[in-house]
């Protein structure tokens, strides 16, 4: 039993990291009032970009993750141009981006032969004797670099949102763009930057899926994690620290699934595979019942800003 728990706890961070970075990205975008439904697709862009970098340039996982972030931001210029610049319906544009990115990554992956090719990805770090400690060593000191960046990233996003002028403007734009505009804040500019930053974090989440954990790119490998991240942000009430808790929860569930059958509990495979989605749905129901759903929601979430429009 101890071995089971240690294995589970040691595997959880790697499953939690994609949820966390995607959620942090979503928080940045949504606190600025832009609904970022395209997460699922942008994770795929990041995943393919990371795999492509390693397969073409060689085994430089850190470079690959940076390219994941850049590629995702690059595609996000299109998304931001549509929803911020052209005020396209954010639900529609977000959904279309998911399919766009899904089709694009599959087409590029097949054309250049990046799909289904295994490579050596991000290594687990070793801290000498610390990593060999019983229990703690495996859980805390044998993870990869991105896992150790998780908490600094939460702190950075929290600091950016609450302690900087940019963060203040970002939140103002998400709560009341009209007032922010009257106060001289460049509403569209802040939203544009927020979307690009969000996409970079989401791209990192996707890049981590291919470069960090799977070490291969497969079509549609984000497998619904983007949608789970959206639910996670609602659960976290758009707060970075709560997102960390949510990511650990969902990461823990995902890490548990392959282990349940390993210890001999017989549940049909496909029923196991559907549990993350059902649990996400259950969490959404729980939030709604507790009436926390609307609490903390940025007031202007999903509402395009047109200066001369009367409301």
């Amino acid at each position: 039993m101890t071995a089971f728990l240690v294995n589970w706890a040691a595997a959880t961070p790697a499953f939690a990291v994609p949820f966390l970075f995607a959620a942090l990205g979503l928080i940045l975008s949504e606190r600025a009032g832009v609904l970022f439904l395209g997460v699922e697709g942008f994770m795929l862009i990041g995943a393919l970009a990371g795999a492509a970098t390693i397969l073409t340039l060689g085994p430089y996982p850190i470079v690959a993750l940076v390219v994941s972030m850049l590629a995702s931001s690059l595609v996000a210029i299109l998304f931001a141009g549509l929803v911020v610049g052209l005020r396209v319906n954010q639900v529609l544009a977000g959904l279309a981006m998911v399919f766009f990115a899904g089709g694009l990554t599959a087409l590029l992956g097949a054309t250049f032969g990046w799909t289904n090719v295994a490579f050596s990805g991000l290594p687990k770090l070793s801290f000498g004797p610390l990593s060999d400690l019983p229990v703690v060593g495996r859980i805390l000191f044998r993870q990869d670099l991105v896992v150790y960046l998780a908490i600094p990233a939460v702190i950075a996003v929290q600091y950016l949102l609450t302690r900087t002028m940019f963060g203040l403007k970002l939140r103002a734009v998400g709560e009341n763009p009209q007032a922010a505009d009257s106060a001289g804040v460049a509403v569209q500019g802040i939203r544009f930057v927020a979307v690009l930053m969000a996409a970079a974090l989401i791209g990192l989440a996707g890049g981590y899926l291919s470069v960090g954990t799977s070490k291969i790119f497969v079509d549609g490998m984000s497998a619904g994690r983007g949608w789970i991240a959206i639910a996670l942000v609602i659960f976290a009430r758009w707060q970075p620290w709560r997102a960390l808790g949510g990511a650990l929860l969902f990461g823990g569930i995902e890490a548990l699934i392959p282990r349940i059958s390993a210890v001999g509990i017989q549940v049909p495979q496909y029923f196991m595979l559907m549990t993350p989605y059902l649990i996400t749905l259950a969490v959404m129901v729980w939030i709604a019942v507790k009436k926390h759903g609307s609490f903390g929601t940025p007031a202007a979430l999903g509402v395009p800003h047109v200066r001369e429009e009367r409301r």
């Binding site: 529609l92 959904l95 279309a96 399919f99 899904g102 087409l107 097949a110 609602i234 029923f271 989605y277």
Partner: protein, 384 residues
């Protein structure tokens, strides 16, 4: 020395010229861009913008396919000549259009009551499963077997949307996320069935046994065309009548325009929304029936593939109009069919079709900016 004085004089002259151009009160004169909300647009201009956007989307898609290695001449041939002049191919397009019409209308009516039904795929899957269970189980007399399969598919599709519907109406759970999550659940149920209890015992491939002859849609006498298309067209006209002529359709327009006002004037919002969303799920289920009984003749791991996205695309292009959805569905069916031959002849992955559809949605969505807004250029500064 002289040179320096000359430069200074130049600079002074420029400063003076700037000042002259921007008289006292207004600051520097410059061109400014104003964005105005357009109060109304003529239907013709609206249609022209839509067509132009579709044309741009198609041109971009052609560019992508050419970049992916399809010779331009072959592109033209596969999309237009081969599909439109050959009766067999044309009938294949029409067969494929039938389920697309149903999913398009399913998405459209749900959008009309502001319910983003992104769970079309899950509803298609359950419609297909229910139809196949009735067909394989040989339930009921053979004469009404197909009708029973359709009824089962309608019920199963509607049943799969009940949970998101209730959660939205009762406690306000976002239906976009809930319907999407249930798609993944539905796919896993399908995989469980075809890798388990419903697996074909003859070849042990992950698909269900083939439907017997009596459980397949009958051909109606022209090439491959089966009874699916007349059924879909009948549905399109009925739904058109309901949303245009009936009291329910008026209620739907009220809810779409302003649900608080609708409540104030006594529209039974919950009832109309629930009925519409259930109908949306049922129509998706019926599309699943058409796919298994008219095209695949069994459950396969991806018989629903791409139809969820296409339903949303069709509803969006048709601006939620059932008859417009019929036209858009035929165009998407053409894309599906041509995409299949591109896959065979040029190894273009089927995801290219998905990319093209998404691209067209994005371009058309972007074009709506020009429907809703007017851009005005004006000089400011001088006249104040």
């Amino acid at each position: 020395m002289l040179e320096r004085t000359a430069r200074l004089t130049d600079e002074t002259a420029r400063l003076l010229a700037d000042e002259a151009a921007a008289p006292a009160a207004g600051g520097p004169r410059r061109l400014r861009v104003f964005l105005e909300v357009r109060p109304a647009i003529s239907p013709i201009a609206d249609l022209l913008i839509l067509l132009a956007a579709v044309a741009v989307g198609v041109a971009l898609s052609a560019g992508i396919l050419i970049a992916a290695g399809v010779p331009p001449g072959d592109l033209y041939y596969e999309f237009l000549v081969a599909t439109l002049t050959d009766p067999q191919n044309l009938s294949a397009v029409m067969v494929r259009a039938a389920p697309l019409i149903l999913v398009g209308i399913a998405a459209a009516i749900a959008f009309r009551v502001r319910f983003w039904n992104i769970g079309l795929e899950g509803q298609i899957i359950f419609g297909g499963i229910a139809a196949v269970l009735v067909g394989l189980g040989e339930v009921g007399p053979p004469a009404v077997r197909l009708a029973l399969m359709l009824a089962a598919a309608l019920l199963a599709g509607a049943a799969w949307v009940v949970l998101p519907l209730v959660l939205k109406l009762k406690i306000g759970v976002n239906e976009i996320i809930s319907t999407l999550l249930l798609n993944y659940v539905a796919v896993n149920v399908l995989l469980h069935l075809i890798y388990g209890p419903l697996q074909d015992k003859i070849d042990n491939f992950p698909h269900s046994p083939e439907l017997p002859a009596g459980s397949r849609l009958p051909l109606i006498g022209w090439e491959k065309l089966d009874a699916g298309l007349p059924l879909a067209l009948a549905v399109a006209f009925i739904v058109f009548w309901v949303v245009r002529m009936s009291r329910g359709g008026l209620y739907m327009r009220f809810i779409h325009a302003n649900d608080r006002m609708a409540l104030a004037v006594g529209v039974p919002i919950t009832l109309v929304t629930a009925a519409t969303v259930l109908a949306s799920g049922a129509l998706s289920g019926a599309a699943g029936f058409l796919l298994v009984a008219g095209q695949e003749y069994r459950l396969t791991p991806s018989f629903f593939g791409g139809y969820g996205l296409s339903g949303i695309l069709i509803a969006f292009l048709a601006r939620s109009n059932p008859l417009g959805a019929t036209v858009a569905a035929v165009l998407v069916a053409l894309l599906f069919t041509a995409g299949q031959s591109l896959q065979v002849f040029f190894q273009i992955p089927s995801s290219a079709v998905q990319l093209i559809q998404a691209l067209i949605v994005l371009v058309v969505a972007a074009s709506e900016f020009f429907v809703r807004h007017r851009i005005r250029f004006a000089r400011t500064g001088g006249a104040r």
